[in-house]
């Protein structure tokens, strides 16, 4: 059987290969990496009949064009983007059959920030430390996808389960937080002000962290915190008081206090917030 491949014609601002990451090696300084919007990545895979651990393409603000070598089934989930196959508009959020030699185009996101493209068989680049995820902090994993790349695709699995309707992801503008572990590093007024506080997503947000701009969260004292282990979703506050929500490529240890942690279910919200959007913090 001929090799199935995707011939990349145009890769937008940031296209990376992502899967469920490489957790379990943080004691060596290895970030977990993986798809920022975990439910969207998993859904896209299920729609094309893949195991959820198959690699997808995470497209920041959509914008990807490729030609198929071999027939594939594809699906796009996460951010809403126009999907065009051989010049014809096709459905977002559902399985789409694509003939060999067709040009597929994902347009810019009209809602959300990160779109996940899954193809039947998964993107089969060489894994590093058990994962095909690109880690933009440490440089582990494949390089970012660029124009002219040819990405191998695995053999297709059994036929995908047909889906009648896809429940659109909740487009929330709220992040629920659990206080701690270092909420006692901050002055009481700042901790109390956290619940209901509105912040704006900064332009320098990325896979390492969502940078929030707004009312500074003040440290209680001037002492430095010795480095300690960090978790996904940790809200770390440097001296300037502007919080950073740690996302998948976050460093494994850090020396700034963490005031709270975003609940797991709201990490996908972080993945889809666009720079300039406003978000409200809720302490639960």
């Amino acid at each position: 059987m001929a090799e199935r491949e995707l011939e990349i014609r145009h890769a937008g601002p940031q296209v990376t290969v992502q899967d469920l990451g490489r957790p379990g090696q943080a004691h060596l300084g290895v970030p977990r990496s993986g798809a920022l919007d975990d439910p969207a990545h998993r859904l896209a895979n299920r729609l094309v009949g893949n195991d959820e651990s198959a690699a997808t393409l995470e497209c920041l603000d959509g914008q990807l064009a490729f030609r198929t070598r071999g027939a594939v089934t594809l699906a796009v989930a996460g951010a809403r983007v126009p999907v065009t196959v051989a010049g014809r508009g096709r459905e977002w959020g559902n399985a789409v059959s694509v003939h060999a030699g067709s040009v597929v185009e994902l347009g810019a996101a009209t809602q959300g920030l990160r779109a996940y493209l899954a193809v039947s068989g998964g993107i089969e680049v060489q894994p590093v430390l058990g994962s095909r995820s690109t880690d933009l902090l440490s440089g582990l994993g494949p390089d970012r996808v660029r124009d002219g790349d040819v990405l191998p695709v695995g053999p297709p699995g059994p036929a995908p389960v047909p889906v009648d309707a896809i429940r659109t992801a909740r487009h929330s503008r709220e992040l629920r937080l659990r206080l701690g572990p270092r909420d006692d590093w901050f002055d009481e007024a700042s901790v109390e002000a956290l619940d209901g506080a509105a912040y704006t997503v900064g332009n320098d947000s990325n896979r390492i962290g969502l940078r929030l701009e707004g009312e500074p969260i003040r440290w209680r004292g001037a002492d430095e915190l010795p480095s300690e282990g960090m978790v996904l979703g940790a809200v770390q506050v440097p001296r300037n008081g502007q919080p950073v929500v740690f996302l998948n490529d976050h460093p494994t240890t850090g020396g700034y206090p963490v005031i709270a942690v975003v609940v797991r279910e709201d990490l996908a919200v972080c993945a889809q917030l666009r720079p300039g959007e406003e978000v409200t913090l809720r302490v639960v």
Binding site: G24, G29, P181, G229, V231
Partner: protein, 204 residues
């Protein structure tokens, strides 16, 4: 050992000092390997141990009283000798800061058996403890935007080796050709928590 919850799935154990971190780390790994402890990551650091990906946070927290505070006799004991050349760009200013000449800095650095307290910052970057007090220097006021791979530095109570080229604020006194990190190798990191380390002067 005090424990603080971190989100819904992690606990941060506060240890009295690096020795307690070491003992807690060994115990956590033992329990993880035997299946008694279900967690994704065990991350030692300067004075804490983080248990992440816990299935049952409360039951782990309530069982912490049973954890030994001392290192087990059968703890993994591995010594790595790193051949280095003492010609770092900050060697002279470190000597001046410490009130010694360069030879004395070299003597004290290579003469001490060090221990990997924890890893962080980058894959394979090990924070080595055991540095004599006379060699405790601050970080650079202005970090370098590019530190060559293999650079050996000092900062506060630690010394360490940059596994790959990166920005860095540590004071650089030496360099090594050893590969601290290789993703294709098994194991990928040369220095892991608990490894003993000795620097060897390749000129001496």
């Amino acid at each position: 050992m005090e424990a603080r919850s971190v989100g819904d799935q992690a606990l941060l154990l506060e240890c009295a000092g690096p020795d307690e971190v070491r003992a807690a780390y060994a115990e956590a790994r033992r329990r993880q390997q035997s299946g008694e402890l279900s967690c994704t990551d065990i991350i030692p650091a300067a004075a804490t141990l983080l248990l992440d990906g816990l299935r049952d946070l409360e039951s782990v927290r309530s069982g912490l009283g049973d954890w030994p505070v001392e290192l087990p006799d059968d703890v993994e004991d591995r010594l790595v000798e790193l051949a280095v050349t003492y010609d770092g760009p900050d060697l002279e200013s470190v000597a001046r800061h410490c009130g010694m000449d360069v030879d004395e800095v070299v003597e004290r650095h290579r003469g001490t058996e060090l221990l990997v307290a924890f890893c962080g910052f980058a894959p394979g970057f090990a924070y080595l403890s055991g540095l004599p007090k006379e060699l405790h220097v601050p970080r650079l006021e202005k970090p370098r935007s590019k530190v060559p791979a293999g650079s050996v530095g000092l900062a506060g109570t630690f010394t360490g080796v940059y596994p790959r080229s990166s920005p860095g604020g540590w004071q650089l006194i030496a360099r090594t050709d050893e590969r601290l990190w290789d993703a294709e190798r098994d194991p990928p990191a040369l220095l892991t928590p608990g490894t003993r380390v000795r620097f060897v002067d390749s000129d001496g």
